[in-house]
C-alpha cells in the first residue's frame, strides 16, 4: 500500500463497446449518454441495449434516446454485449448477476457503480462463480440528491474520480479495459482494495450523511422547528444538503457498510465528547484549540487537491 502519484494511463478505447446498461436511473442513464458522446468523435455509433426493473424508466430512457432497445430481462439485454454496466441498488447486485450470468458472453466486461464494495465483491463471486473474473467492481464518485432517468446527464462523470477495487481473479487486460472505459466518460481512476474503499467512504461520505440526517432530525423534532428553519442561512444550506438523500439508497449503504460506519461513528462520538467537555467546563481555550485544529485541516483541503492513494487489490 503506497501513495503513488498516478496510475499508468490506460490505452484509450480502441474498439466501440457494445454496451448493455442494467438499471435505467441517473447513474446508468448518465453513463450511456457519456459513453455515446465519447464515441462520437471517433466516428463510432454506439448501440445500447438496456433492462430496467421499472418498465416506466426503461420506456423513458428509450423515449429520450438514451438507450436504443429495452429488454424484458437482464439476460436478454446482455447477450450481445461486450460491456455491461450494472446500475442497480447494491442490494440487487447478486440477484441481477444471477439472472444475467448464463447469458453473459465470455469476453464481456461487467462493472457496477455501487457506493459500497465489499458486499458487491461477495455478491459477484456468489452469483458468477468462475465468471467473477469478468467483473470489475467500480465506484464513480458522482451523483445527485435526486435520481431517476430524467436527471441523467452526459457530464455527470466528468472530472470525477472513479474507484476500482480489482478482484484477484481479474486479468490485467480486463482491468486496462475497465480503466479506459471510465477515462472515456471523463473519470480519473484510482485503484484500491474493497476493504480500504469501504473504510475511506465510511469516513468521508457515509458518516457525513449520517450526521446531516441526524442533525435535521434533531432540529425538526423541536417545537420551534418551523421558526428555526425559516431563519436558516447559507451555512445550514450547505451543511445539510446531503440530508436530502433518499432512503432507498441510504438504507442499503448503511446496511452494507454498517461495521465501518459504526467505527467512524465512534471516532465522531469521541470528538463530540471533547466538544461537550470543553463547553461544560467553560474551557474557551480548549474550544479555540478544537476550532483551530479543524479549521487548519479544512482550509488546506481542496476537492481533488491531493494525490489519491492507490494500493494493491485485496
Amino acid at each position: 500500500m503506497s501513495i503513488a502519484p498516478t496510475l499508468p494511463q490506460a490505452a484509450p478505447l480502441s474498439t466501440p463497446p457494445r454496451l448493455a446498461v442494467i438499471g435505467c436511473g441517473l447513474m446508468g442513464g448518465s453513463f450511456a449518454m457519456a459513453l455515446r458522446a465519447a464515441c462520437k468523435p471517433r466516428g463510432w455509433t454506439l448501440h445500447i441495449s438496456a433492462h430496467s426493473r421499472s418498465r416506466a424508466s426503461g420506456e423513458r430512457a428509450l423515449e429520450l434516446g438514451i438507450v436504443d432497445e429495452v429488454h424484458p430481462s437482464a439476460a436478454q439485454a446482455v447477450r450481445d454485449a461486450d460491456l455491461v454496466l450494472l446500475a442497480v441498488p447494491v442490494t440487487a447486485t447478486e440477484a441481477t448477476l444471477r439472472e444475467l450470468g448464463p447469458a453473459l458472453p465470455s469476453q464481456a466486461l461487467v462493472m457496477d457503480v455501487g457506493s459500497t464494495k465489499r458486499d458487491v465483491v461477495v455478491a459477484a463471486r456468489a452469483a458468477l462463480g468462475a465468471a467473477a473474473a469478468q467483473f470489475v467492481p467500480a465506484h464513480p464518485i458522482a451523483g445527485r440528491e435526486r435520481g431517476g432517468i430524467d436527471q441523467a446527464d452526459a457530464t455527470l462523470y466528468q472530472a470525477r474520480r472513479c474507484i476500482i477495487t480489482p478482484l484477484a481473479e481479474n486479468d490485467p487486460q480486463r482491468l486496462q479495459r475497465a480503466q479506459s472505459v471510465w477515462e472515456a466518460v471523463g473519470c480519473r481512476v484510482v485503484h484500491m482494495s474493497a476493504e480500504q474503499h469501504d473504510r475511506t467512504f465510511a469516513a468521508v461520505s457515509h458518516l457525513p450523511h449520517l450526521l446531516a440526517f441526524a442533525y435535521v432530525n434533531a432540529v425538526s423534532q423541536q417545537p420551534d422547528a418551523a421558526r428555526h428553519l425559516a431563519l436558516a442561512g447559507p451555512g445550514f444550506r450547505d451543511f445539510s444538503r446531503i440530508a436530502a438523500g433518499t432512503s432507498a439508497i441510504w438504507r442499503d449503504i448503511f446496511s452494507a457498510n454498517r461495521d465501518e460506519v459504526l467505527e467512524q461513528l465512534s471516532h465522531f462520538e469521541a470528538a463530540l465528547g471533547q466538544w461537550r467537555a470543553a463547553l461544560d467546563t467553560k474551557n474557551d481555550a480548549e474550544v479555540a484549540r478544537l476550532v483551530d485544529a479543524a479549521s487548519a485541516v479544512r482550509t488546506h483541503w481542496t476537492l481533488n487537491g491531493a494525490t489519491p492513494p492507490t494500493d494493491d487489490p485485496a
Copy 2:
C-alpha cells in the same frame, strides 16, 4: 409572538448618514462600501470615519478608499457621526461602547453586527446606561469563512436577512431608522427578541458549526486521515465548508451562547442516539424512517423560502 407575513416597510433613507465604522474587517468594510453605493444614486456623498484596533486594517481601509478618515480612538471616530456601526468581536462590545459613549452625539443611532445578541444587550446597557436607548442590536446573516478588510464586498449584505432585536428603551423612530439603513444595504429585516435569536441561531448556525468542527476533528485524528481526505468528494466539501471558520470568532460565539448551544447539542445527541441504536440493532427499517424524516424536511427547505417569524422585543 407570531408568524407575521412581513414587517411594515420602513421609510427609505431620507438624509445621508454621517457614518462611523468601528472595526475595519469584512463586516465593517462591506457595510461602508454598501452604504456608500446606496447613497450614490441619491446624489449623496457619504463621509465615513473609522477606527480600528488594528492599525494595519485601518490604513488598508483608507488605502482602498473604503473609509475617508481613520482615527486613533473610537471616541474620535464617532464624535460627528449620526450612524455608528460597531463591527468588532462580540467580546469587545462593552469595552468599545464604554470608550465611545462619552463622545457619542445624543441623536446618533448605534448598531452592531454580532452573531449573538443576549450578551450584546447586556454589554450595551452596562456600557451606555441611559444612552442604551440609542443602541439597536442587529445581526445581518452574512459572512465568509475568511474575514479581513481585503475581503470586503459592497454586495455582502444583498438579499440577506438582518435580525434586529430591539431593546424596550429603543423608540420607534430609531427602530425605523435602523430598518431603513439595513434595507438600504440590501437586507430584509426581521424583528425578534434577543432570547429567541440566540436560541434559533444556536439551532441553525452554531450547532452545525460545532458538528462540522467535531467531524473534521474526528477524521483528521485518525491514522488514515490523509488517505481519507484525498478521496473526499463534493458531499464532504459542502458539509465541512463551515469548519474553516476561525477560532477568534467561534470561541466567542460558543462562549456567549453556551447555554443554548448545549441545549441544541443535547437535542443532537438524542437524535444521534436514535441512529446508533438503529445501526447497532441492524434495524434497517428504522434507518430508512430516519432518512425519510430528514430528507422530507430538507427537500422542502429553501434558503429564504419560508416567511421568517417576527415577535415582540423582550
